[in-house]
Amino acid sequence: MKIDLNNGVFIEIGGELGKYNTLPIDILVKIAQDLQELVFTLAKHDLPSEEAIDISNFKIELAGFKKGSAVPKFAYTPRTENKTGLFWQVHRNTVNEKFDKLIEISNTGDYGKLVELYPEPIKRNPIVENLYSFVNGFRSAPVNFVDYDEVIEKTTPIYKINRFKPSVKKELISELKEITETEVESDEAVGKIKITKKAGKTQCRIIDYYSGKKFSLEYAPDVIVAGTIKYFLKHPLRCLFEKEDNYYIIQCEILGIIGTGLTEDETENSFAEEFDFVYKRLNSLDTASLTNHNLLIRNILIQIVEKVEE
């Protein structure tokens, strides 16, 4: 780390701007304001977000002015009211390290390196803006961060400030898009799917779909085959068909008959076996032995079965 805002940094401004060993007030104010904004921005983005930061601790002051062109000196404020919190010195050091790196980049003139230092646009954008404003605020004057020897009153260049081209700045600034959190809603639906087979490849396309709350898939046999017995029905028996977890269900609510299985065929056979059992069992019992519910089921079964073949 070659420059230190704790002890003060000297900025040597040459050329037309510094040739009288003075600085116009407006230029001095602009340089000071740009420098201050840059330091504040570093403090906002480079310090741990979980720690309380008092931004006033990073105020800078004009701490001196030397001749030899114009050489203002800026340093962190020495005022005690701006040294608050447990870690003010640690935080100042951290910010100074980053400041040193930025000026080192300016010395190389390769501002593209800012992408490596600040990969996240949310941090990089404001730092690029403020560094651009600071390093280009000296107009065309040659500017160096220098070491100043008080004894011999001589400056030694540390970092040269190179111009920050607008085109490079433009490349470094990324557009930030506000991401709005959208609520994820999930629902189930049933639908019609068009299946196309071409050259051994199967493609499925949804033709239409309907809410799973109101509509369901159905299994509607008009012949039920249970082993060697065939039940021929007057009308298709409309049953619910669905998949739950890893198994299938065929369920006829009104008859209280259910078949389940790990495959569609297994489920269909299971349903047929149950249909066969319920049909035979209810018809084997006399009416007095049946509840109203089972009587209803038996009557429906008698009504819908046209014939039974064995």
Partner: protein, 95 residues
Amino acid sequence: MSVLDPKKTYSNLKKKGFTSSTTKSVDHKHLEFFHNKKYILATKISHGNKDIENHLIKQMSFQCSLDKNEFIDLARCPLSKKDFIDILGKKGLLD
């Protein structure tokens, strides 16, 4: 995902008043439940030692007019015969 032991389930359902059906099959049997000499329902249970898996629990619970958790309680014991009859009564299945 729960599984039930077939032998314990069979034994516990018998204790709750289920009786073996006269209908027989090679791979399964039906247990029937009567109340006041009226046939109420029947459920299918497999022969053998293979665990009663999720899809069969679903089938048996529907056949017993219970939800899955209630049926597991019935099969494992916490749900008593009286509780079971109360549930069936509330659903109008005993009339």
